[in-house]
């Protein structure tokens, strides 16, 4: 969905995963920006209809970029800095307590 500008300042690369896929990000990016730069189209499915959603405002207002980060759901991807080794997953519908997930 997004691509780097040709003359951007270089930064350290970080390894992370999205739904089990290994990806590479830039140090200094937020989780949401890094997902966009990696071509991730959808980061969550809504609790009401299951519709796909992706980051919309990137400034903490819309809550469309909610993802599961290192097992914790409902994290705002646009507000969380990407860290090396992060495990990021699509947020499917409502966050369920672990015992209810089966």
């Amino acid at each position: 969905m997004f691509r780097p500008m040709s003359d951007a300042k270089s930064a350290a690369t970080l390894s992370f995963s999205f739904d089990g896929r290994p990806l590479i990000g830039r140090d200094g990016d937020t989780v949401a920006a890094s997902l966009l730069a990696n071509g991730v189209d959808v980061c969550r499915e809504t609790p009401v209809s299951g519709a796909p959603r992706a980051p919309y405002c990137l400034m903490g207002v819309c809550f469309e970029c909610l993802v599961v980060i290192d097992g914790v759901g409902n994290r705002q991807g646009c507000m969380v800095p990407l860290r090396d080794g992060m495990t990021i997953e699509t947020q499917h519908g409502r966050r369920q307590p672990e015992e209810m997930q089966g």
Binding site: M1, V48, P52
Partner: protein
């Protein structure tokens, strides 16, 4: 500046807490600190600058021409904060502001979270500099991936030096539209069209305010931006309707102009319909708000010193009404001067003396604003979407038709009652993206005005906090008594 990276590093009490490190918050914190106040500046972003000067100290964009000379001015504000003694907590979210029961309301209790840990501190005075957000612009299909706000693309550019890939369309109206289009084009985005929804019938009203605009220091700058964007990009004016099409993802933007329907295939659609003050925190803190009919949005009721209806809480920057970055910085200084006066650190005469030249500058930056507000007032069909299936509450997937139906058939009179019927405004964004539209739809259906309809009553926590964080907070005797039967 004293950077605070862990919540435990915050002091128990500050003279002044400033919320938001955009131009208003940066200058308020710096000025108050220069006057000798113990200041805490909190901001939920990783770096200072707000959205306008987003990532000013860390941006990976190297070509300074891409973001323009105005952007780089933000560095001076951050440098001034750094020279000051203010404490600055980044990535720190304020989720509650309330009178401190223990001090008999002489100070405020502020709920904060940083890195998954919550904390309550107190402050004698508060300045909210929470700025603005893009005005909601609900059109059919706007929830599809591939559709974003124009501001989102600008944030991605400033903070990560990334641009939309493939065919990009920008749609909407407002002075920022030209700036955003120009910046993205300069950064290498493939902008295939700019769909301008500025209603032509706005011109007669706006012309009355033209003389002031002609004396505005921004006229030349604005015209230059506009001319450059129009020369290099494909501008299509007079757009009266927009609808996003695509299966699971945006593929086409369909629009009408001059009564004819057209469509453009695209990969990214960026929506922009001007900006409005972010009112969630000020509303939840109990500050009275009113509907500004010129800017067509809710604004807090403020006096000449940006003091709200709650004594001790001031609101500076675009959160006080849209005025732009330069006026935001000046408003921050004025609010800081009055905070120092309220705390007894300076006299009324000293405050007034310090403020006089700032007020002159503020008047200059705001000159011409009325013209822009009137010219770029969004068309009614974008404020209250006509197509019933259009989702207006993105969190709870409530449609325009459902709100109209509840207002008409069930007689729902206001947005708070609408929550009970439809859950609009009850999702994680807490009404930030549907509030103005719900109000508009109720007003339209009931034949009244947004001012009469009122706005959502918002409550803390203003940003989601985990139960674990809340449970770990030390509870006062009064708080325990409030919930124990």
């Amino acid at each position: 500046m004293k950077p605070l990276t862990e919540i435990g590093q915050l002091a128990e009490h500050y003279d002044l807490a400033v919320v938001g490190a955009g131009p208003a918050g940066l200058s308020a914190a710096a000025r108050a600190s220069e006057l000798g106040l113990a200041v805490l500046l909190v901001d939920e972003n990783p770096e200072p600058g707000g959205q306008i000067y987003r990532s000013i100290t860390t941006t990976p964009v190297t070509d300074r021409a891409v973001l323009g000379v105005d952007y780089w001015r933000g560095a001076d504000l951050v440098a001034r904060l750094k020279r000051s003694a203010a404490a600055y907590a980044a990535r720190c979210t304020v989720w509650s502001i309330a009178p401190d029961v223990e001090s008999d309301g002489a100070s405020f209790e502020i709920g904060l979270s940083l890195d998954g840990r919550a904390r309550l501190i107190t402050a004698g005075q508060v300045i909210l500099a929470t700025g603005a957000q893009e005005r909601p612009f609900p059109i059919p299909g706007w929830t599809l991936p591939g559709v974003m706000t124009a501001g989102a693309a600008q944030i991605a550019l400033k903070s990560s030096a990334i641009v939309p890939k493939g065919r990009t369309v920008i749609a909407g109206c407002g002075p920022l539209l030209y700036l955003l289009a120009g910046q993205l084009a300069a950064a290498g985005a493939e902008i295939v069209a700019v769909l301008d929804t500025t209603p032509r019938r706005n011109w007669p009203a706006a012309l009355g305010a033209l003389p002031d605009f002609l004396r505005s220091p921004y006229l030349a700058k604005g015209l230059k931006l506009m001319a450059k964007a129009r020369r290099s990009l494909r501008f299509l004016g007079g757009v009266t309707s927009l609808a996003v099409e695509g299966s699971g993802r945006l593929s086409t933007i369909r629009f009408e102009r001059g009564g004819a329907s057209e469509s453009i295939a695209c990969d990214t659609l960026l929506l922009h319909q001007g900006v409005i003050p972010s009112v969630n925190l000020s509303n939840a803190a109990g500050c009275a708000h009113e509907f500004d009919t010129v800017q067509h949005c809710w604004v807090p009721q403020l006096d000449d010193w940006f003091a709200s209806s709650v004594p001790g809480i001031a609101i500076a920057g675009d959160g006080a009404g849209i005025g732009g970055a330069e006026s935001a910085a000046l408003r921050g200084e004025i609010a800081a001067l009055d905070s120092a006066r309220r705390l007894g650190r300076i006299t009324i005469a000293e405050r007034d003396n310090h403020a006089a030249p700032i007020r002159t500058a503020l008047g200059r930056t705001l000159r011409g604003r009325r013209f822009l507000d009137l010219l770029y007032k969004p068309a009614t069909q974008f404020l209250a979407p006509i197509v019933d299936d259009t989702i207006i509450c993105r969190c709870e997937e409530v449609t325009a038709g459902q709100v109209r139906d509840a207002a008409k058939r069930l007689g729902v009179t206001g947005p708070n009652q609408m929550k009970a019927f439809l859950r609009c405004g009850m999702g994680p964004c807490q009404g930030r993206l549907c509030g103005p539209t719900v109000v508009e739809l109720i007003a339209e259906t009931r034949g009244t005005t947004p001012a009469e309809v009122g706005y959502y009553r918002l409550r803390p926590p203003v940003k989601p906090v985990t139960l674990a964080e809340l449970a770990s907070l030390p509870q006062s005797e009064a708080a325990v008594k409030a919930v124990v039967r």
